[in-house]
């Protein structure tokens, strides 16, 4: 099992941050549904993480370093990025927010967030059992 601060725990926290940021982005899209020429944004995180994982043959994240003598490994978990979709138009006024799609993404993101919280909570619970024996 990974201790808090381990690679898998860090990945979970990174995913939780990404889900929290995506919630803000989707809320912003929904708030601007009636604004002419507004273009929707989204968060890329899963793709970046998959790219980082597949870059190595053993499918593992690079090492974390904390002393100057350590070999460089780069950041273990990628930072989530906000990207704007300028290529599409959904409404007659140049706005490309599809409210139905945003609502679905909102629900999906909420479930994803709950999953990460549950998983982090589970890791901490396991750790507590390991420490206290109950």
């Amino acid at each position: 099992m990974d201790l808090p601060g381990g690679a898998s725990f860090e990945r979970l926290v990174g995913a939780l941050h990404a889900a929290s940021l995506r919630q803000q982005v989707l809320a912003n899209n929904i708030a601007n549904v009636d604004v002419p020429h507004f273009k929707r944004s989204d968060v890329v995180f899963e793709e970046l993480l998959a790219e980082k994982l597949s870059a190595r043959p053993d499918k593992k994240l690079p090492l974390k370093t904390f002393l100057p003598g350590h070999m460089p490994g780069g950041s273990p978990v990628p930072e989530p990025r906000v990207v704007k979709d300028r290529s599409t138009t959904f409404n007659h006024n140049g706005n490309n927010v599809d409210i139905d799609r945003e609502m679905v993404l909102l629900a999906e993101n909420q479930l994803r967030y709950n999953l990460f919280v549950q998983q982090i909570d589970h890791e901490i619970r396991m750790l507590r059992i390991g420490i206290t024996g109950r």
């Binding site: 940021l21 919630q23 803000q24 929904i30 009636d34 967030y113 982090i120």
Partner: protein, 145 residues
């Protein structure tokens, strides 16, 4: 501490409510022939429209690759320049020599459609706000005994 998405959804609620207020004003004044006076002649009510715009984030956030807009706001309430309706009502106190009365350029059907659109957008923002709240409550469960 910054709670993700709360202020964004709140700005959407504020903007949509203001839009509904403006629509309510248009509907209430659909028959108002004396909104103001020009050279002693009554001028009817002009239909009002809201102009919305995203709230832009500061440069530092954009540079960091964070969200470039943080919600929505109404920047101005503009008047509709379209011509007034002319109705033949010779007994009306504001009728001219030919018995014609200038009526507001408010189209009730258009207002009702706009009202429904504003209501639905308001509800969408409420849903987003509830989702943010549920997520925040869920994160409080981390590490609970």
């Amino acid at each position: 501490m910054k709670l993700g998405g709360f202020d964004i959804s709140a700005s959407g609620l504020t903007a949509q409510r203001l839009r509904m207020d403006v629509i309510a004003s248009n509907i209430a004044n659909a028959e108002t022939t004396r909104a103001s006076f020009e050279n002693g002649r009554p001028v009817p009510y002009r239909r009002k429209m809201t102009v919305m715009e995203p709230i832009r984030a500061d440069f530092r956030d954009v540079l960091k690759g964070k969200l470039a807009t943080k919600g929505v706001r109404v920047t101005q309430i503009r008047e509709d320049p379209s011509p007034f309706k002319q109705v033949y009502l010779p007994t009306h106190p504001d009728a001219d020599e030919n018995g014609m009365v200038h009526m507001p350029n408010v189209d009730l059907v258009k207002e009702m459609v706009d009202l429904i659109s504003a209501t639905r957008s308001y509800e969408a923002n409420v849903t987003a706000l509830n989702a943010s709240k549920a997520m925040f409550m869920k994160s409080l469960e981390i590490g609970r005994q």
